[in-house]
């Protein structure tokens, strides 16, 4: 942790323990951690994500007590949970919708990091750990979606594992090894259950590293300006514990609206039909949080190239700290970057939208359009191609070049400067040194 510890053991037992395992000191320093005082509500999503992870692990452990990971029993055991287990329906709906809530929060968290330059030096390792968490989250969510063993579970597993089959030479044996046979079947379900139980604890470990890597340089903040003096900060507790608690509570309201009033809104009806290898659903779609990558995969007619494009889309996120050449962290002072970021955000939504539709479906049903190369221009496949192109141009061209060419607005001297120069920001009776409280 950065900075000297301010903890002083007050009782004999605390002194005894402090000399052996300074766990109280560790916790006290975490709570006292000096945090920039100007963090806005976008910064509450770190706490919200911790809440999501704990919720998923707790509900998941209970579900695993009642779930039967077998090809013949899985579907029925989910119905057993929904109908016979006390509050099983509540626990399962929290877990199923919790996955979506987790991804809503993580996407906001990632976009916040991009906008405010939280990935830039000295926070590159923090960013890499975060991107790894996101990657493991996607794998965990995918494994989890297979477990109810409905039609979408089965065919989703088939499509996703087949992606690895595109790798030359190694692909086909890799798929066989991955699914535990020559096709997706009961052995696949068993190993996916095992991995679905394992990976959340890997995520928890990575989250520990993520917080550790956060506490070395300390938090970024909306100005992107480094903390200069202690008056730029407040102790994490009680200032941010109370703010994060409020944000978590508001987030849980949204969560509860899904769980109690539209628990199936983010699911797919086909997953209430038991898995049947002989009947392919009309439309195989992954869960919403994977749709942008699915759109990139399908935008390219060659399977291997599509897989490479999809992998590159994720690799761009990892490479971002070395792609961005701007020395100004926060886009608050980069008007052009703000514009391109806004387009990038919309493009990500468009990619998700394209992923949910059949590539050949018409974008505007009224218009005939015309054939361009392999597909009609008035189709989702062309929209996803244009969007995918911008996605890569944003990372590989705009981000490196803009940092060299743009003229940023002047950034404030310190965190406190914009705060104090704002006429409404100094309330009567403001305490001069709030960091000494709590």
């Amino acid at each position: 942790m950065s900075g000297p510890s301010t903890y002083e053991p007050k009782t004999a037992i605390e002194r005894w323990l402090d000399a052996r395992l300074p766990i109280v000191r560790f916790s006290a320093d975490l709570l006292d951690f000096p945090t920039p005082k100007n963090l806005n509500y976008w910064w509450t999503f770190g706490g919200i994500l911790a809440f999501c992870l704990i919720t998923q692990i707790v509900t998941g452990i209970i579900l695993a007590m009642h779930y039967n990971a077998s090809g013949t029993g899985a579907f029925a055991s989910v119905q057993h949970i929904m109908r016979d287990v006390n509050y099983g329906w509540l626990i399962r709906y929290i877990h199923a919708n919790g996955a979506s809530m987790f991804f809503i929060a993580v996407y906001i968290h990632i976009f916040r990091g991009i906008y405010y330059g939280s990935f830039k030096a000295p926070r590159e390792v923090l960013w890499l750990i975060g991107a790894t968490i996101y990657l493991v989250m996607m794998a965990t969510a995918f494994f989890g979606y297979v477990l109810p063993w409905g039609q979408m579970s089965f065919w989703g597993a088939k499509v996703i594992t087949n992606i690895f089959g595109a790798i030359p030479v190694l692909g086909p044996p890799l798929v066989t090894w991955l699914v535990g046979g020559f096709t997706v079947d009961a052995p696949t379900l068993n190993r996916f259950f095992s991995l679905h139980y394992l990976l959340p604890f890997v995520i928890a470990g990575l989250v520990g590293l993520h917080i550790w890597a956060l506490h070395v340089p300390g938090n970024n903040n909306p100005t992107g300006v480094n903390v200069k003096t202690k008056s730029d900060t407040v102790p994490f507790h009680p200032y941010y514990t109370v703010k994060d608690s409020f944000a978590v509570s508001v987030f849980v309201i949204l969560f509860a609206c899904f769980v109690f009033f539209m628990p199936e809104a983010l699911g797919h009806v086909d997953n209430y039909i038991p898995a049947n290898p002989l009947a392919t659903p009309a439309h195989i779609v992954p869960e919403w949080y994977l749709l942008p990558y699915y759109a990139i995969l399908r935008a390219i007619p060659d399977k291997l190239s599509g897989v490479i494009a999809m992998g590159s889309a994720i690799a761009c996120i990892f490479a971002l700290p070395w792609l961005d050449t701007s020395r100004v962290r926060s886009m608050r002072y980069r008007p052009q970057a703000k514009l391109y970021f806004g387009i990038f955000f919309v493009v990500c939504l468009i990619l998700g939208f394209c992923g949910a539709h059949e590539p050949d479906d018409k974008l505007w049903p009224g218009s005939i359009g015309f054939q361009l190369f392999d597909s009609n221009i008035n189709s989702y496949v062309w929209l996803s191609r244009i969007a995918a192109l911008y996605y890569f141009v944003y990372f590989l061209v705009i981000t490196p070049l803009l940092g060299l060419r743009e003229t940023p607005l002047p950034a404030p001297e310190s965190i406190s400067t914009p705060v104090l120069s704002h006429p409404a920001a100094t309330p009567a009776g403001a305490v001069a040194a709030p960091e000494e409280k709590g």
Binding site: Q79, Y239, F246, I253, F260, V269, D302, S375
Partner: protein
């Protein structure tokens, strides 16, 4: 070379896709349901009527394997009675189990021979066929789907069931269904191959293995509700909605309490936040 051929096939496939005939389905006639909206609940009288339609008509071919007799008397169920918190004691439920037309397959403990015994409240509603193969053999090769999750597993939910089940009209002239199949505009499919009329006026919908199941007063209702086939279809759709989602009443009631609690709790946290931060310029 092989890869080039495959890539070409993919390209041609993409180009040719729009030329293929598409499946169609008539737009569903939406119904008003008592359980619509965030606070809508099941109508117990409707569930009872719907159960009667299921028992007298649907259960001839369709199993409902996730519903046991005692579930019918669970809170929110068709025969829930607060006098019998343990639904196995509910006399209506016991009578339904005892009077169920099919017995439960069992093994004679002394001889090991296959046998049958009367249903108890703990048994699932005994299915019409011993296995899928028997069900297909009796239905021209088509498998009548289990009805426990039918509403959850179909786009349109209860309105889909209503539209499929209430349709009962003569096959349009010019359309010749395959043997053992029936035209239903609400069943997604493509009937162009069996259509001899104007190729631009192919009827929407598809061929289903189920003959039109309901007619007026095929089931009479004990509460005096007029027994039009639309009413029968609507009531059985409501019953199947309950079968798919038996905890919906409980879920919505709890949700309301949770939202009120969270609203107050968030308000208190916001006030705490303002109180703690009141002296900090930020």
């Amino acid at each position: 070379m092989l890869r080039k051929v495959l890539a070409l096939a993919v390209l041609l496939g993409l180009a040719a896709a729009p030329a293929l005939a598409e499946t169609t389905q008539a737009p569903l006639r939406e119904q008003h349901w008592s359980f619509n909206g965030p606070l809508g609940m099941y109508d117990q009288a409707q569930l009872q009527r719907g159960f009667k339609v299921y028992a007298q008509v649907c259960s001839q071919c369709h199993s409902i394997n996730y519903i046991a007799f005692h579930n019918l008397g669970d809170p929110g169920g068709p025969f829930w009675n607060p006098k019998y918190p343990n639904s196995n004691d509910n006399p209506v439920v016991k009578a339904i189990a005892a009077g169920w037309p099919r017995q439960v397959p069992d093994i004679n403990a002394d001889t090991g021979d296959a046998t049958h015994r009367p249903a108890t409240t703990a048994d699932v509603l005994v299915a019409p066929f011993p296995n899928d193969a028997a069900a297909r053999a009796s239905n021209g090769g088509a498998l009548p789907p289990d009805m426990s999750l039918l509403v959850s597993a179909r786009e349109g939910g209860p309105s889909y069931v209503y539209n499929i089940a209430s349709y009962n009209a003569p096959t349009p002239a010019g359309l010749t269904p395959p043997p053992g199949k029936y035209y239903n505009p609400y069943f997604s499919g493509d009937v162009s191959g069996s259509w001899t009329g104007d190729p631009n006026k192919v009827p929407v919908g598809g061929f289903i293995g189920m003959p039109p199941p309901l007619t007026d007063c095929k089931v009479t209702f004990d509460d005096g509700t007029p027994c039009a086939k639309e009413q029968e279809a609507k009531d059985v759709a409501a019953f199947l909605m309950w079968a798919s989602d038996p905890k919906m009443d409980e879920r919505k009631q709890m949700g309301l309490a949770v939202l009120i609690y969270l609203g107050l709790f968030s308000g208190l946290l916001y006030l705490s936040y303002r109180q703690i931060w009141r002296g900090v310029a930020h």
